[in-house]
Amino acid sequence: MGWYIGKRVLQMVPVFIGATLLVYAMVFLVPGDPIQAMFGERAVNPNVAAQIRQQYHLDQPFINQYLIWLGGIFQGDFGTSFSGRPVIDEIAQVYPTTVRLALMALVLEAVLGVVLGAVAGLRRGRWFDSTALVLSLLLIAVPTFVMGFLLQAVVGVKLKWLPVTVGADVSLRSLLMPAFVLASVSIAYVLRLTRTSVAENAQADFVRTARAKGLGAGQVVRRHILRNSLIPVVTFLGVDLGALMGGAIVTEGIFNIPGVGNKLFQAIIRGQGPTVVSLVTILVLVFMLTSLIVDLLYAALDPRIRLV
């Protein structure tokens, strides 16, 4: 176990360097002058521009810029954004909101997906199952922004149950609708995954043995069918957490949420290299960490798995 975690952490090093280098290169290669972008339509004083270039090491070759940035990271310094604030401050400002949104979405997809999926799986071929399958297909097929606008119009504007957009108020109540929109596709996947897994396990020999032992129907479902069926679902949920955090750009845009997605979008448009790279770096770390946790969880759920 200790060996395994050590090995995985070591594997993170090349992934980390590769991912940041790639992102850095892409930001560098994007056409357009970031200094010009900072000043908008106004003319730039060449002296000032040169000074800024020097300040942000933009006059140096790409690889030097990257190494300077990387050196800073290892000293806990994420650099300074073009607006003059430390990048770390910007990160601290947007990440909590996104983490909260992603966790809410995760809880929604876990609860709704597993419960509906389990019921459908136990009643395979009956009306509940068929309805759940059609609805899940619908969730997968409808694009996020359509779902977002639709809910905004119905739940927000018409029924006035929940606020239409989020803005500065990032309370649980105002994040509920965006969290559902963000989770909608995943709910459908979790539902289908759980359903298949439950239906398969319900036919398993050990389930029949459990019944032959004299266990009641409820005990059989809880202890033997659900527990075993959740193994693949947990794997999916873990990997999905990273996707929920990184993939909230559209949702955050629709609901005007001041999160990572919004920030990243603006930083890309304005060519703010250091900000983009730092935001993405943290996303990469989150991805690697969740996948490690999933693998450890997997071994804990399924004793047959040996981590080597």
């Binding site: 020999d205 050990f206 043995t209 032959a212 032992k213 004299g214 009641g216 004793p303 047959r304």
Partner: protein, 661 residues
């Protein structure tokens, strides 16, 4: 005796699908008295398992009882509520299922799964519900509720400490004090046996009732699992098949049911393990007075293990009665075929007992057997020693295979010698059999001969050439000469491929003929293995196990090989199908002059097919010789054990049919 414990009357069970309803059980009636044993015998699809599952309402899928009655202790179970069945299952009717590999939940520890059986049925783990066996205990110790308390782990330690202090403790006493199994009365009688004056006081002080965990260990020990307390904390995947079956038996007997349904409890196990398990099951059910309903496809096994037999064929009971009557005088043609085909019954004693019943009809299988024996003698005469001019087709010399097993830490490993200096020759046109338990290395030898594994040392010579030192082209040509047939006809055929594609692939791979020629060849091959040409348009899942194995055989024959390696090729098949496939193999050998290397754990099959036998144990060949020699004069204990393990081998006419303890 009044009413039977279990009584089925005119039972009808159907499986309904959207297209059609299939009648699986048609008008089955049987009676089982309390404490007695009855076996239902039949091939797969005969409805025997369906009947058993209907008793506890665990029919799979769309199965439904449509008519008739199932009475247990006088209570009608057809149409009873699920609640009734939940109360009945485990508590009054236990089930030992067929496949030990898939019947334990992989994610829970063994102990927890056994404990579940105790909890679900409200069993008090502290004390036994049975009267102590008086013959064991003697009349002088009265049976009281306190006397039935089990020994706990803490109590055992305290007692051992006390006995050690008095210098009376030894290993035998240690073995007799079983946690969660030995009762106060038994401990008292044990202590009296040691000559202790204060035996009653000591037993009363230290035997004070087991915890649920202790009782679980006791149940597992009772089912014959060594080191049960530690084993209970392990997971199913750390257990062998035989050990898992013991766990399932412990689970089924946890609540002391009146009836135990054993559904092919050992079909998936090695013969020697099978024998141990069945002996144990027999002893336990007899001691506990549990009635046993035994489901099997092996008539020999059934006759050996049960007092009464019910033979089922296509959902109907074709014959029923006392085991020996049916065995010696089968009336229904189907039963007669079963008796003939049962490989377990081809042992000497029964062979002679059956012959008059068969009415002098020489069956194909008997003729084959005779052929084989004579063939065996011929080949013996034709062996290199006697005839220096004839080379063996296959010669294996000092073959060794060592596997590196990865350890818990990176870099660490241990070595495992799967095959240890094995040597043998197979003359062309004969059959050699490698026999042994699973783990004896016989399948590894097969893989080495097939050039699917590389030997660590030693060599395999085919037609005088070492198969290791060859060019790529020679290797490719070798593949045409040597073909395998594997055990599992379900796993060895690609389910997405049609039979035609499966049979045509080897031809295409080796660039033989044009499409039209290949289609003709596929038709020939199917004809060769007695399948209709229309089979080629079907898919593996549309065929029965026996048909699939025929297809596997046809695939192996497609390239006209010289050597066919049959790795447990008939072990997964029902007796009748097995007999047919064995006949086919013999016929093909005669017609095509094939050489077989037969890998099996079933000595009964060996006797019908092989010329020479090599008995393997822990990677080594421990005994070899001509078939009759090995069967009549086994020199090694191991070989003797294998021979004894053949079901039916212990059957003696005129003796009461009870499993030997």
């Amino acid at each position: 005796m009044g009413e039977p414990l279990l009584s089925l009357r005119d039972l009808e069970i159907v499986f309904a699908s959207r297209q059609a309803t299939v009648s699986a059980v048609r008008g089955v009636s049987l009676d089982l008295e309390a404490g007695c044993s009855l076996a239902i015998v039949g091939e797969s699809g005969s409805g025997k398992s369906t009947t058993a599952h209907a008793i506890i309402n665990l029919l799979p899928g769309t199965g439904q009882v449509t008519a008739g009655s199932i009475k247990f202790e006088g209570q009608e179970l057809v149409g009873a509520s699920e609640r009734t069945f939940v109360e009945l299952r485990g508590a009054k009717i236990g089930l030992v299922p067929q496949d030990p590999m898939s019947n334990l939940n992989p994610v829970y520890r063994i102990g927890r799964q056994v404990k579940e059986a105790l909890r679900a049925n409200g069993v008090d783990p502290k004390r036994s519900t049975y009267k102590a066996l008086t013959e064991l205990v003697g009349e002088d110790i009265p049976d009281t509720p306190a006397g039935r308390l089990y020994l706990s782990s803490a109590g055992r330690e305290a007692l051992i400490a006390e006995l050690t202090r008095r210098g009376l403790f030894n290993d035998q006493v240690g073995r007799d004090l079983v946690i969660g199994f030995s009762t106060r009365i038994e401990v008292q009688s044990l202590l009296q046996g040691l000559g202790l004056e204060d035996a009653a006081q000591l037993a009363a002080a230290h035997v004070d009732g087991a915890s649920a965990n202790d009782r679980v260990a006791g149940l597992l020990a009772e089912a014959g699992l060594p080191d049960a307390a530690r084993r209970a904390r392990q997971f199913p995947h750390e257990f062998s098949g035989g050990m898992r079956q013991r766990v399932l038996i412990a689970m089924a007997l946890a609540a002391r049911p009146q009836l135990l349904i054993a559904d092919e409890p050992t079909s998936a196990l090695d013969v020697t393990v099978q024998r141990q398990i069945l002996n144990h099951l027999g002893t336990l059910t007899r001691e506990l007075g549990t009635a046993l309903l035994f489901i099997t496809h092996d008539l020999g096994l059934a006759a050996e293990r049960a007092q009464q037999l019910v033979v089922m064929y296509k959902g109907r009971v074709v014959e029923a009665g006392p085991s020996l009557d049916i065995l010696t005088d089968p009336r229904h043609p189907y039963t007669q075929r079963l008796v003939e085909a049962a490989p377990s019954l081809s042992s000497r004693r029964l062979g002679s007992a059956v012959a008059p019943g068969a009415g002098g009809v020489i069956t194909v299988s008997n003729r084959d057997r005779a052929d084989h024996q004579s063939q065996g003698h011929q080949s013996q005469a034709g062996e290199p020693a006697a005839d220096g001019g004839r080379r063996p087709l296959l010669r294996v010399t000092e073959l060794t295979k060592v596997f590196r097993l990865r350890g818990a830490r990176p870099g660490s490993h241990s070595l495992f010698t799967a095959v240890d200096r094995v040597s043998f020759d197979v003359p062309a046109g004969t059959t050699a059999a490698l026999v042994g338990e699973s783990g004896s290395g016989k399948s590894t030898v097969a893989n080495l001969v097939l050039d699917l594994l590389e030997p660590t040392s030693g060599q395999v010579e085919f037609e005088g050439q070492n198969i290791a030192r060859r060019s790529k082209a020679e290797r490719f040509a070798f593949r045409r000469q040597v073909q395998p047939v594997f055990q599992d006809p379900y796993g060895s055929l690609d389910p997405m491929w049609s039979i035609f594609r499966i049979l045509e692939e080897p031809l295409r791979t080796h660039g033989l003929g044009d499409p039209k020629w290949r289609a003709d060849r596929v038709r020939q091959l199917l004809d060769r293995v007695a399948l209709p040409a229309s089979t080629m348009r079907r898919y593996p899942n549309e065929l029965s196990g026996g048909q699939r194995q025929r297809v596997a055989l046809a695939r192996a024959l497609a390239l006209e090989p010289k050597l066919v390696v049959l790795d447990e090729a008939v072990s997964a098949l029902d007796v009748l199908v097995q007999a047919q496939v064995l006949e086919l193999l013999a016929e093909l050998q005669r017609d095509l002059e094939l050489t077989y290397l037969f890998i099996t754990h079933d000595l009964a099959v060996v006797r019908q097919t092989a010329d020479r036998v090599y008995v393997m144990e822990q990677g080594r060949v421990v005994e070899s010789g001509a078939v009759e020699d090995i069967f009549q004069h086994p020199r090694q204990d191991y070989t003797r054990r294998l021979l004894e393990a053949i079901p039916g081998s212990s059957l003696r006419l005129g003796e009461p049919l009870r499993p030997e303890p």
